[in-house]
């Protein structure tokens, strides 16, 4: 199955109203808010960007395009931090 997925070795915990991640090479933890934590939950299994946006939009009962705009920078940030990887 292809798509975005959590990178191996990322340590994480749920937090009140979010999640905290510590990627293998990061000096500082990443703190996610509630929508970010919802994305993180989806990334337990590989998922394509569009499918993730659609799932989150359905859960929050909002427009998919709006969610896609919101999660695109977050996914880029997670990728840059080594917290996620794209599985072809």
């Amino acid at each position: 199955m292809s798509g975005w997925v959590r990178a191996p070795g990322v340590l994480w915990r749920t937090a009140l109203d979010g999640a905290v991640l510590l990627p293998p090479d990061a000096d500082e933890p990443l703190v996610l808010n509630a929508p970010g934590a919802a994305l993180w939950a989806l990334l337990a299994e590989p998922i394509e960007f569009d499918a993730a946006a659609a799932a989150l939009a359905e859960e929050a009962q909002v427009d998919t395009e709006r969610v896609a705009d919101d999660i695109a920078p977050l996914l880029r940030e997670l990728d840059a931090a080594g917290a996620v990887t794209y599985q072809p």
Binding site: T14, D17, G18, L22
Partner: protein
Amino acid sequence: MSGRTGAALLRAVAAYGLSAAGPSLPPRPLDDGAWDRLLAAVRVHRLDGLLAAAVSADALPTTPQQREEAARAHTAAMATCLALERLLCDIDEEFDAAHIPLRVLKGSAFAHLDYGDPAVRCFRDVDVLVPAQHLEQAVGVLVAAGCKRQVPELRPGFDRRFGKSLTLTVPDGFEIDLHRTLALEPFGLAIDTDDLWDAGEPFRVGDRTLLALPAEQRLLHACYHAALDNNPPQLLPLRDVAQLALEGVADPGRVLVLADRWAGAAVLARAVREAWDTLGVADAVHLSEWAKRYRPTRQESRMLLVHTVLGRRHAEKAVAALSFIPGVDAKAAYLHAMLLPQRAFLRQRGVGYSNWLRQGVRSLLSARHRGRHA
């Protein structure tokens, strides 16, 4: 909120999520002063995870600002736990390469194996167990990695033969407790350390599989920690005892067999009774009923007294420990170390040799006096 109300509220947080727990959480948000005091106490007692769980479920109603403060405190506590788990994985990797067996104790192991969500159980250091014969090698590995031992050994070889644990500080300030056994003498010397190396229970941290003690030994360790390491017992260790006894998978029959073999039945009874009383646990289980009925022997009472009331009086601990040290040579080595610690140990403790000896004699005399009047 009075001091007593504050203490009851803190106990209610510590008991949150246990079935039919006694102290109750307030039905409406606390005023700001009471909230600030609660938050400060929660931090001291490492209860941020339980507070967050109670707030998240709305079992403890909060104002928006209070919720934000609870979230901030929990996030900080979780960031610390993750940094410690990274350290734990590094230690596991180093020890693995050096062929040093390891079991994870308390914090991370309890969080992953005994609480439904590891975010509920906070911890502030790393505790690992290594076999006695690997202890010095393990210290060498950690020192080579930049860690510093906090207190020099009483005498060379003491830790490997008689010690409970030693503490090393990592350059970033975290502490590693390297254990040989689960308690200080005399109880620690009565533990059959072979029992600690039964097949470990695996759990995942990141992409590593770590090993913890089996469920029964884990519950007993929670009891030793709760009943002996602080007087009065602290809330989080008591919560661990209740959590493992109520929600864990330990076989109570096997726990009692091990406790008996380790001369630790009185420790188990004290910890379970304190957990049930302090947290107001209403559920009766096999161990809580047994603990209620248990009456310690005279020797057990004396051993508990050494730990709980007499604190750090090394001479009384030494006398109580002698009956658990097999063989004349080992007894002599133990006494030699207690009477004649190496200079570096005394220097670090800020005490001269004559003072050390005087303190020992004084506490022995008072022990004899207490013994006569018991």
